[in-house]
């Protein structure tokens, strides 16, 4: 197997290497990718058209809204798939648990739990800040969602999985994940209902106290919040399933 792998790697590598000489230099402003009309349009026209200074957020949530929506659906599907693969209900099938060499005695480490207690609210506030300021600084739904999910993971690490499960039960997490997608798609259908295209936020100025341009910006914020819901929920769900081998009894 190793020899076969080596040959495959050398061949593929040689093919790719021979293509490198045709590439433009690294960082060349006149390279085809950078001088292409669409990229330049995104750079110069994003702010006049959407009043969002962060081009990445604007392109992510507005110009390429379909793409992001279905990426969110992919993340949701991954969460559901992991539950489908691993989750086990009830007390049956104890054989795997017995293979675990040691039985874990829960000890609350004073130092770790105090630090985490103090840090968790600040992490959550920071996550909300990242979601809310995706327009003006780097950030947005994906990042904020991951950080918010990480705060739950931190709680589960510092105490144990049961405590975290009490705070955010499994069924609530799944509802949250669905709500995120619902919010995203809801914005699309709202636009459709008002007589425009799917995810064309300009039309929302009819029901918002804002100009069409500001309506785009505000709708983007709403969409980001939806993404953040889904990502938060799925990240914590993946963690709790992986760490407890689908039993939700004892975590890492």
């Amino acid at each position: 197997m190793k020899a076969l792998a080596f040959i495959a790697v050398i061949l593929t590598g040689w093919l790719l290497m021979s293509a490198v000489s045709d590439f433009p230099d690294w960082g060349d402003p006149a390279s085809p990718a950078n001088s292409y009309r669409l990229s330049q349009h995104y750079i110069t026209e994003t702010f006049p058209e959407t009043s969002v200074p962060n081009m990445v957020t604007a392109v992510l949530a507005d110009y390429r809204g379909y793409d992001t929506m279905f990426e969110t659906v992919v993340i949701f599907t991954a969460g559901i798939a992991i539950i489908g693969i691993l989750r086990r209900y009830g007390p049956k099938d104890e054989s795997v648990l017995k293979q675990q060499a040691t039985i874990y005695k829960k000890d609350d480490d004073l130092i770790i739990s105090t630090t985490c207690r103090l840090v968790i609210p600040i992490i959550q506030l920071f996550a909300l800040y990242v979601v809310a300021h995706g327009h003006h600084s780097p950030g947005g739904g994906f990042q904020g969602g991951v950080i918010f999910g990480a705060s739950f993971i931190l709680l589960a690490l510092s105490r144990d999985l049961q405590t975290a499960q009490k705070w955010v039960p499994e069924n609530r997490i799944l509802k949250l994940a669905g709500t995120g997608i619902f919010i995203y798609a809801g914005f699309g259908f709202l636009c459709l209902a008002l007589g425009s295209n799917f995810l064309d936020y300009q039309i929302l100025h009819k029901i918002m106290p804002a100009t069409p341009i500001e309506a785009r910006s505000h709708a983007m914020l709403g969409v980001e919040i939806g993404v953040a819901f889904t990502v938060t929920a799925v990240m914590f769900s993946i963690y709790s399933n992986l760490a407890s081998n689908g039993r939700m009894k004892e975590g890492l």
């Binding site: 040691t102 920071f126 990242v130 950080i147 990480a150 690490l157 890492l252």
Partner: protein
């Protein structure tokens, strides 16, 4: 001043090399985890430094902060793992030097 910052960044990179030695050789897993933790904090510094060089620090501090937060979670998870797989040492059985003599 910008040259000084680039120089400082290069110095940090150069000082990461001995820590890399610990990662490559490091006799046990936990030595590697310690080294990873150290590299994580240094990366936080490097991110702020890059922000200063770009003259856009207000954008870079955000994810330097994220980085510090999540690096902490990573090393905590590793510590918890080792906590779990090893049988708990009773606090009172650990002998100090005075108790031995």
């Amino acid at each position: 001043m910008e040259n000084f910052f680039i120089l400082a960044g290069v110095a940090i990179f150069a000082l990461i090399v001995p820590i890399f030695y610990r990662i490559i050789v490091g006799p046990t897993a936990i030595d590697r985890i310690v080294a990873v933790n150290v590299i994580g904090t240094k990366t936080t510094v490097l991110l702020v430094l890059i922000g200063i060089i770009f003259k856009r620090v207000d954008m870079f501090v955000d994810f330097a902060l994220t980085y510090a937060l999540l690096n902490f979670i990573g090393s905590l998870a590793a510590a918890r793992y080792l906590d779990r797989v090893n049988p708990d040492k009773q606090f009172s059985t650990i002998k100090t030097k005075e108790q031995e003599s």
